[in-house]
């Protein structure tokens, strides 16, 4: 037993390094996508202290809108533009109809409101688009769908070009987001609001504008995530459950840290894959990805309740 836990997995890794590379690559791709979903949560939480339960359904809604518009005959890239417009309208509507009337209410009320948004978007989406599985317009968007087959150490490593595209686009998106938050006036306003609501308001930062902006950015992230996940196995309401994978990422990385979301996502993506392949499947019958990330996050929380990158809250009494 000790051999199976402490020796054999590492021997397997050394004996089949191409397979290990494949495991790491699959973990990286999953991790990037987890990180994208977590980013949507973090952005909204930083600016409004709202834990946005609707982030998962926003991914589905954005992807369905894109595919739905294309099915209606709209060219692919115009569909992307129109989907972004829809996500902007959604952001404005949420700010006007849901958030603005609830300003000053306890956090739990705002959280409950996002559950309401989720239920609304599920019902509205099913009425408009139906519940059928739809094919993501991968090729129409110019995303390559072939594979790159490599033979490291005489083995086999398959890299899907759409996964490579997802990783590159996600990295560019994160870079652009960091630039926006750190180098632009609006970005600094978002950060200021996250640091101290009252102080930010006192210097003239508009709460309404910032909320619309962050929900719109979360919508853009949702669209990119939806395209990436949808290209893997189609677009359906089942995509929503993937959002739950972002919860341990947030627990690990901290709810307020963009860096935490990215590193947390990558860590969970890679570690859960490595654990599943080398320990979970041989020793525990598999399907450990269902719980591994949560256990890892709980262990981190035992030592750092604010997560790896979250800010320590000090309350003076």
């Amino acid at each position: 037993m000790l051999n199976d836990i402490f020796i054999k997995p590492f021997v397997d890794m050394v004996e089949a390094p191409d397979f290990l590379l494949q495991v790491l690559w699959e973990g990286l791709v999953s991790g990037i996508l987890y990180a994208l979903i977590a980013l949507g949560f973090v952005l909204i939480f930083r600016s409004s202290r709202i834990f946005n339960f609707a982030q998962g359904i926003m991914v589905v809604f954005a992807a369905l809108t894109l595919v739905g518009l294309h099915e209606m005959g709209v060219p692919a890239w115009i569909s992307v533009g129109l989907t972004l417009a829809v996500m902007f309208v959604l952001a404005v509507t949420i700010e006007r109809v849901v958030l603005r009337p609830l300003v000053g209410q306890p956090d739990i009320i705002l959280f409950m409101a996002t559950i309401g948004i989720t239920l609304f978007l599920i019902g509205f989406g099913e009425i408009i688009f139906g519940g059928e599985n739809k094919v993501m317009i991968t090729e129409e968007l110019g995303i390559p769908t072939d594979s790159v087959v490599l033979e490291p150490w005489g083995g086999l490593l398959i890299l899907e070009q759409k996964d490579i595209t997802a990783v590159v686009v996600a990295a560019l998106l994160v870079g652009a987001l960091l630039l926006f938050l750190n180098k632009t006036r609006m970005g600094r306003a978002i950060r200021a609001l996250g640091d101290d609501h009252q102080a930010a308001l006192s210097v003239g930062i508009s709460l309404q504008t910032i909320w619309v902006l962050v929900w719109f950015i979360a919508g853009i992230i949702a669209l990119v995530t939806g395209i990436a996940w949808g290209a893997r196995a189609g677009v359906s309401f089942a995509l929503e459950v993937i959002a739950y994978k972002a919860l341990p990422v947030l627990m690990l990385g901290g709810l307020e840290s963009i860096t935490g979301a990215i590193i947390g996502g990558l860590m969970i993506g890679i570690l859960e894959k490595v654990f599943e392949i080398y320990w979970g499947q041989p020793l525990l019958g598999g399907n450990t990805e269902t719980w591994f990330a949560f256990v890892l996050a709980l262990i981190v929380l035992l030592f750092r309740p604010q997560g790896l990158f979250g800010e320590k809250i000090i309350e003076r009494v």
């Binding site: 099913e126 059928e132 309401f237």
Partner: protein, 432 residues
């Protein structure tokens, strides 16, 4: 006082008329799931079921002249919601159509007390075939163990399975685990190694770990018990990892056209065992077009109506309708009770001649149920995705009754013992 008496009399008359009005229908609710992660596979099935019943109502005025109230109660494939739907509808229902193995297992003990037949065509608990123990449950026309047996037989026809390895990719859910007892027995009997590979609900669309395991295990075949988004996830991963599609076989719920259209020609060679087959020039489809589609009452679309799942939905409603008809003829009453329907479902005799009368020749193999045999064991065909649609690639395959029936009896007895006191029909007298 006089005023009160009049009011009371009016109330009584109203109640009687109301009861009469309610009774003028056959209430056959469907615990559907058009929403949630499994909606993509649920919708075409529900549409097929619904269209068949609407067609009977429009063309024949229902069954035996009584319209069918085919109300849907949405479960989202959630077991908890399914049980709520059962409780909500059981007062008037003549049948429960639970539409999930999880829901079936939950309501199975209740139906024995409430005395409402469960109709779970091609799903649910395989030992429900034993009508002596499961007096109120029907998994007509074939069980999951039938499916596993037929798949293994099909593979065996390609060569001995001795020393071969079969990966069993399945949803980590009661449905996915259902064929395990039979597969374990077949594995021991035939000398192949079976590697169970579970897929969690959250991993349905991201099965890279499962397919890495398949790559490492190098199985000769992959057999899939997938459902909903899991099917599309598995098929795309199989294409991605270049697994030979001709060695990849799914159960009948993993043979949905829309799942394969995602990969198109790359999925050519993938197979699915099936007890139903779309016959696009079948007269029943013309009747549905005339009475339901042209009337604007269908929720389906032309593409879906050519698919395996929509047509299976038609067959499922046909089974229920034939059960109702048999019960009506047996009792002489057009308005039957749940107990009458149980008799009807125990005395189904779907012959080639009857299928021709129904305009459904070739859509389902002939089968017959009895008091002791609630499945009928119709057998099935192996279907193959040709890049655009599923086509039949085998003659009728029949499950190995010699292996399955003793296991059914054993597991049914175990269930009855675990759920004691459990009413068992020793004589198998449907009237008892």
């Amino acid at each position: 006082m006089k005023h009160f008496t009049r009011l009371a009399a009016a109330a009584v008359v109203g109640a009687v008329m109301g009861t009469a009005a309610v009774a003028q229908e056959l209430y056959a609710p469907n615990l559907s799931y058009r929403t949630g992660p499994f909606a993509a596979t649920g919708i075409p099935l529900m549409n097929g079921q619904r269209d068949y019943m609407l067609m009977l109502n429009a063309r024949d005025g229902g069954i035996g002249g009584v319209p069918v109230n085919f109300e849907e109660c949405e479960t989202g494939y959630s077991t908890e919601k399914g049980v709520e739907c059962y409780e909500k509808t059981k007062g008037r229902a003549i049948v429960t159509q639970p539409w999930s193995t999880g829901i079936t297992l939950q309501v199975l003990p209740k139906t024995n007390v409430d005395e409402i037949p469960i109709l779970a065509p091609g799903y649910g608990f395989s030992p429900m075939a034993d009508g002596k123990v499961f007096q109120w449950a029907f998994n007509t026309p074939a069980s999951y163990w039938d499916a596993a047996s037929m798949i293994v037989q099909y593979l065996e026809a390609e060569g001995s399975l001795e020393g071969k390895k079969i990966a069993f990719l399945h949803l980590d859910h009661p449905y996915g685990k259902e064929p395990l007892p039979l597969l374990e027995k077949l594995s021991a009997d035939k000398g192949f190694e079976m590697v169970p590979i579970p897929v969690g609900l959250k991993e349905m669309q991201n099965q890279s770990a499962q397919w890495l395991q398949i790559r490492r295990e190098r199985p000769d075949y992959v057999v899939m018990w997938g459902w909903g988004a899991m099917n599309a996830g598995a098929i795309t991963e199989a294409v991605k990892t270049k697994f030979p599609m001709e060695n990849f076989i799914g159960v009948w719920w993993a043979g949905h056209d829309a799942d394969l259209k995602i990969v198109g020609a790359d999925g050519a060679g993938y197979k699915s065992i099936s007890w139903s087959y779309p016959v696009l020039d079948a007269p029943v489809l013309a009747d549905i077009k005339q009475h339901v589609v042209d009337a604007g009452d269908s929720m389906s679309n032309p593409e879906e109506m050519e698919g395996v799942f929509y047509n299976r939905g038609l067959v499922i409603s046909m089974i229920l309708a034939e059960g109702i008809k048999a019960a009506q003829e047996h009792t002489g009453n057009a308005e039957i009770t749940a107990a009458d329907l149980r008799w009807g479902l125990e005395n189904l005799n779907i012959t080639e001649e009857r299928l021709a009368e129904l305009g459904m020749t070739g859509m389902v193999p002939p089968f017959q149920t009895t008091c002791a045999n609630h499945t009928g064991h119709s057998g099935g065909w192996m279907l193959e995705w040709d890049g655009e649609k599923f086509v039949k690639v085998s003659d009728l395959l029949m499950a190995d009754a010699e292996v399955i029936q003793p296991l059914e009896a054993e597991k049914a007895a175990e269930y009855a013992e675990a759920n004691a006191p459990w009413a068992v029909s020793e004589t198998c007298d449907a009237e008892s």
